[in-house]
């Protein structure tokens, strides 16, 4: 008898099960390419275990997406208000619900399919107006993938998969119904997106750090679609349905947000990891024709981390190769050192202190000797609806001290070449206070 379900072992979710069309996606050229895209770019140079790839993460996101879907569409978890508002929930077990479950799983599977080599590290190296989500959209709409969607019963609309895979932030040309917005929230949502859930758990596991772990079983079990409470207005629901939790899920939500905070501050924004990403980008600018990745899907799919790594190693030991000095910094571990790091005192004086210091250093010593890295956490505060035991729906930030006090992670580093480091450090110590003092607008010539 032919098999209709296929199991894949996974260290985080034990088994990930796929049906035949999902296996077709797995076997496709774009998806197989993800076996060669590191989840965390060059983080393995700092955390040697960080060699996992986008491939297994994508499977994990699919697995979690359907777990969330099954919980939030369970008739016992859906209020009449929500059932009336979201058409596919009107009839439990309807064809519509089955259709959207399949779309959701496919979208989850494909959500990272357009990632560039070394993931986010090379994100800027696409032509103006492009990002990896745009490439994802093009791949989902490509001939090879379209055949899979069209051969399914019922066929899946590629537009539906695209919308859920990249979400409203990156699919600005599409209008999202409330239902579609909820489903895309399951994958890419700020609060309970399973993309984030999976990468926190998976990265944590591979890196050997405990920070990213949280009780995702409990959290998923308590998820519900709830009407967003209307801030400042008693007894009035503004009404837009969104993902929330019942009161019993507050602690596991807190654990998720704390896990995110620690993973960002300890892993993702680790200064050595960040400077390796910058050196990699410098190398790619020299190595790629025109300094940019191709956007033609056929050409795009030919380049993975493997091709880049091989060239990086060659270039590191041959000063005639493009990008030699940048490659050497990575391969021989001669990365720039952290000279300046954001701190609360400086931020009080000038929130863009790092930029001011970087500009002053490059003016004094030369632009090639320094790199600036500024990045702040994206997304909003962890504000989502909570259904209390007495039936009231209140914002999470009104009920959780913890959520209110989780800091926002923001980095502002200046790195210096090793040879100039001591000299630059002395100079900075002497001039720092003057450099970071903000200029009043009236003092400008403009």
């Amino acid at each position: 008898m032919p098999k209709h379900t296929h199991e894949i072992r996974d260290p985080i979710h034990v088994f990930v099960r796929l049906d035949n069309p999902e296996r077709d996606v797995l076997n496709s050229k774009p998806f197989q390419r993800l076996r060669h895209i590191h989840q965390l770019a060059l983080a393995y140079l700092v955390y040697p275990g960080a060699t996992h790839k986008r491939f297994e993460h994508s499977l994990g996101v699919m697995e979690l997406a359907s777990r969330v879907f099954d919980v939030i569409t369970n008739p016992n978890n859906v209020s009449d208000e929500i059932r009336n508002r979201l058409e596919p929930l009107g009839k439990a077990d309807s064809d519509a619900l089955r259709y959207w479950r399949r779309v959701l799983r496919m979208a989850a599977l494909c959500h990272d399919i357009g990632h560039l080599p070394f993931s986010h590290a090379s994100e800027d190296l696409l032509p103006e107006g492009w990002d990896h989500e745009q490439v994802t959209r093009d791949i989902i709409a490509s001939k090879e993938m379209r055949q899979i969607w069209e051969n399914m019963t019922p066929p899946l609309r590629q537009e539906d998969i695209i919308k859920l895979a990249v979400g409203p932030k990156k699919a600005k040309d599409f209008q999202f119904s409330d239902w579609e917005a909820i489903l895309s929230e399951i994958i890419v949502g700020d609060a309970f997106g399973v993309d984030r859930m999976d990468y926190l758990l998976r990265d944590s596991y591979h890196l050997g750090v405990a920070y990213g772990k949280f009780d995702h079983y409990r959290l998923i079990d308590t998820l519900q679609i709830l009407p967003a409470p209307s801030p400042g207005e008693e007894n009035q629901h503004a009404g837009e349905p969104t993902l929330g939790v019942d009161e019993g899920g507050i602690q596991s939500s807190e654990a998720l947000i704390i896990a995110r905070y620690f993973m960002y501050s300890q892993v993702y924004f680790h200064p050595v990891r960040r400077i390796y990403d910058i050196h990699l980008k410098d190398f790619l600018k020299d190595w790629l024709p025109g300094g940019l990745f191709p956007t033609d899907i056929g050409d795009f799919l030919l380049i993975t981390d493997n091709e880049v790594t091989a060239s990086l190693r060659q270039a590191a030991f041959d000063d005639g190769q493009p990008g030699h000095s940048h490659a050497r910094r990575i391969v021989r571990r001669e990365h720039f050192k952290r000279l300046y790091e954001r701190n609360p005192n400086d931020v009080e004086i000038n929130p863009e202190a790092g930029r001011a210091i970087f500009n002053a250093l490059t003016q004094e010593f030369g632009a090639e000797l320094f790199r600036h890295d500024r990045y702040a956490q994206k997304g909003g505060p962890p504000d989502f609806p909570v259904r209390m035991r007495d039936g009231r729906i209140v914002p999470s930030l009104a009920v959780s001290e913890v959520l209110n006090n989780v800091p926002v992670v923001s980095v502002d580093y200046v790195f210096a070449q090793r040879e100039i480091f001591d000299q630059a450090e002395k100079w900075l110590k002497k001039n720092r206070n003057t450099i970071i003092k903000p200029q009043k607008e009236e003092d400008d010539n403009g």
């Binding site: 207005e233 009035q236 503004a238 009080e348 863009e352 504000d383 209140v394 914002p395 209110n404 923001s410």
Partner: protein, 177 residues
């Protein structure tokens, strides 16, 4: 626009809204800043789409988070309605560095606070979506057509509510221009 200059304008607008007794949660900030851009032509340069409660900007959401990281605003929770956004003393210091820009837009920010400060989320959603339909979508000049469009985009807004919102927005446009 330079990030800190923009932060000075945003925090001043939030202060003005609070002075007019706005709850000043994220939705209030989103809609007020949308009005600042699309009605008052204050060049804050956020990209808005139709999403949560009408016009919504993911860039603006990210920037509000950055302002929190920089200590320029903070969220003050109030049981049981959720947080309000409060500009800090640091924001005042920052504004002090951008007096020229603030003077340039002061009247516009005050006008917006007057018009929007007392409004709740539901009102703001209707008005902001009405403005979006009016200035960004080629629906035509007829109030009825724009109201129908608004109601189509946000089915929980009735045609009558939509028409009222369109008329209020037209009135504001007249006042401004």
């Amino acid at each position: 626009m330079d990030r800190l200059k923009r932060a000075a304008l945003m925090t001043r607008l939030l202060e003005n809204l609070r002075d007019k007794r706005s709850w000043c949660g994220e939705t209030h900030a989103q809609k007020a800043i949308f009005f600042a851009q699309d009605l008052m032509r204050v060049p804050l340069e956020f990209e808005f789409i139709l999403y949560k409660h009408g016009p919504f900007s993911f860039d603006l959401r990210d920037e509000l988070t950055s302002l929190r990281a920089d200590g320029l605003i903070r969220l003050v929770p109030r049981w049981p309605y959720g947080p309000t956004i409060m500009p800090t003393e640091l924001a005042k210091k920052l504004q002090n560095n951008y007096q020229r820009t603030l003077r340039l837009y002061e009247d516009k920010l005050a006008f917006l606070a007057d018009k929007l400060g007392a409004k709740g989320v539901a009102d703001l959603e209707r008005l902001a979506t009405a403005l979006f339909v009016t200035v960004r979508q080629k629906v035509g000049e007829s109030s009825e057509k724009r109201a129908a469009k608004l109601s189509e985009i946000k089915p929980h807004i009735s045609y009558d509510q939509a028409l009222e919102a369109i008329r209020k927005v037209d009135q504001m446009l007249d006042e401004v221009h």
